[in-house]
Symmetry: C2
Subunit: 313 residues, 2 copies
């Protein structure tokens, strides 16, 4: 008989996950199903944990039998404590790409097609046609070319854009015409029209997108950050936008979330705040990935989307 | 020696065209180069006319030697007088597709990703994440599947959308999963999420997009008209938007242009006016097409992009 691990769920969508798991497989052993972590949390039985990383981070040290943690988010940074524990960590891949490519195109096109300027004319009932720009032929700079970046690269290429990549390791996306390493980041920025940040939060990426990189972008440049907030120097970005060096910026990830209502980023010119909605976890899709991994776990096979603890993604 | 036809130019960009033509070929015989049509206009020599269709329409009957008219626009309706004259008419193809596909994606994404709602939250410095929609898996309805429509269809398909086509004749776009004829237009509208009008102005297309079609669209539907204004019943559209039956509309072409400042379309809820800028004629690209056709004309070869007088495109 196959080994049935005790599974716990710690997530804001815990009840929904429990229903989805029970529906998909009647022989799963659910232990704890919680949407917050109680102060005195302890669970000796749990062997497998499905969790939102910020909730899991508060609980994993109180789960002595833990062998495997499945994150419900793409970003697993909250779980990456030191020293490395003896359980393995798996992430989510393959479901954020289609959302992210539409998010990136939305806001590149918003600036390039001058949507706001047309709306300003409309409020005045003023017929004064403007000449919009075009993405075709422009160069998109992708800082971070993983699973999600590849999807964005392909969509941009489909519209006739060139794609340059800034990458710490992966160089296997054929849509990227030219790769740059972090030490070449200023040359990378100087080679592109638009910069899209999709970097994970690691020591190596902290403030990687800095004043030097931003200064190397062209004045019609647009910066979109949908990776992690720690990868971008927000003071340098604000300074660029205030003196009109860049055409615009879109921040999906913020230094603190919720962004406090007195944070100056809310009122920085041409800076749009999209409130961490670029690519959302849909519990149905996460549950499907988890159930597939549970089957592999039971069968003693390697799990999908394991996180390299040292690289952090 | 090759026959050198006398060429005239009637266009708002006449001087630019004259410079481009002279630059490209030193042996062209330029006759009239005008950016308006004088009241007493006459030109006995002109054999070939490059013109903005509205200007050309005022001049062609005063050009007795005319053999060929090259339009600078995609829409040639102003030139289609009756009875059919003995000169041939050529249009422009191949340069509007890349602009149009970006225009359509801009505004589909604008509504689907809820850009305006995020901006409203931002003006209040209010963190209250909304769940954006996604184009992937939705169905785009293309009313008019010619050269430009094919480019839009391919871009939509690249994002994982299905494409349905309403077409009078052409059925040769492999990206279109299902074709409908004009008599099936209500079923067509009922089968799609978004409707993009790219129809030419002909007798057969007048008010083809009418109240019945609009009523068959879903409440999250968006209508984008970038074909010709005569193909859409604007009163019916306004009525739909006012009672919130549709999520939005984008009108690139208007019943009269410039749109008068007291026209209610300026202030119809969720109706965006883009002032006939979806796909602009760049003189460099038009000149290239014309010069190529001049070579064919001299050599007695069939011209590119000839307009069928009866079909009107």
């Amino acid at each position: 008989m196959t080994h049935q691990p005790a599974i716990s769920i710690l997530s804001r969508d815990a009840q929904q996950y429990a229903a989805l798991l029970t529906q998909a497989s009647s022989d799963l052993t659910l232990c704890q199903v919680l949407d917050t972590v109680p102060a005195d949390f302890q669970c000796a039985q749990t062997e497998v944990l499905l969790c939102d990383p910020d909730l899991g981070a508060k609980a994993v040290r109180h789960m002595p039998s833990l062998r495997w943690v499945q994150s419900t988010w793409a970003g697993v940074a909250p779980l990456l404590c030191e020293p490395q524990p003896d359980w393995q960590l798996t992430g989510i891949k393959g479901i954020f790409g289609p959302q992210m490519r539409e998010f990136v195109l939305t806001y590149l096109l918003y600036f390039v097609r001058r949507v706001e300027a047309f709306q300003t004319l409309q409020r005045q009932s003023l017929w004064a046609p403007l000449r919009p720009g075009i993405l075709r032929g422009k160069t998109l700079g992708l800082a971070g070319v993983g699973d999600i970046g590849r999807s964005v690269a392909e969509a941009a290429s489909g519209l006739g854009m060139k794609v340059h990549g800034l990458s710490l390791r992966s160089r296997d996306c054929s849509t990227v015409e030219q790769y740059f390493s972090p030490s070449e980041k200023v040359a990378f920025a100087a080679s592109v029209d638009y910069l899209v940040g999709l970097l994970p939060a690691t020591d190596a990426t902290a403030h990687l997108i800095d004043a030097d990189m931003l200064a190397a972008l062209p004045p019609h440049g647009v910066v979109i950050n949908a990776g992690r907030a720690s990868t971008l120097d927000h003071s340098a970005l604000r300074e660029c936008l205030q003196r009109g060096h860049l055409a615009g910026a879109v921040l999906d990830v913020l230094p603190s979330e919720p962004l406090p209502d007195d944070d100056p980023l809310w009122r920085t010119p041409n800076c749009l705040i999209t409130q961490h909605t670029a690519a959302l976890s849909h519990p149905e899709e996460i549950a499907r990935i988890f159930i597939n991994n549970v089957q592999k776990y039971r069968d003693g096979q390697p799990l999908n989307y394991t996180v390299d603890w040292h690289n952090g993604y």
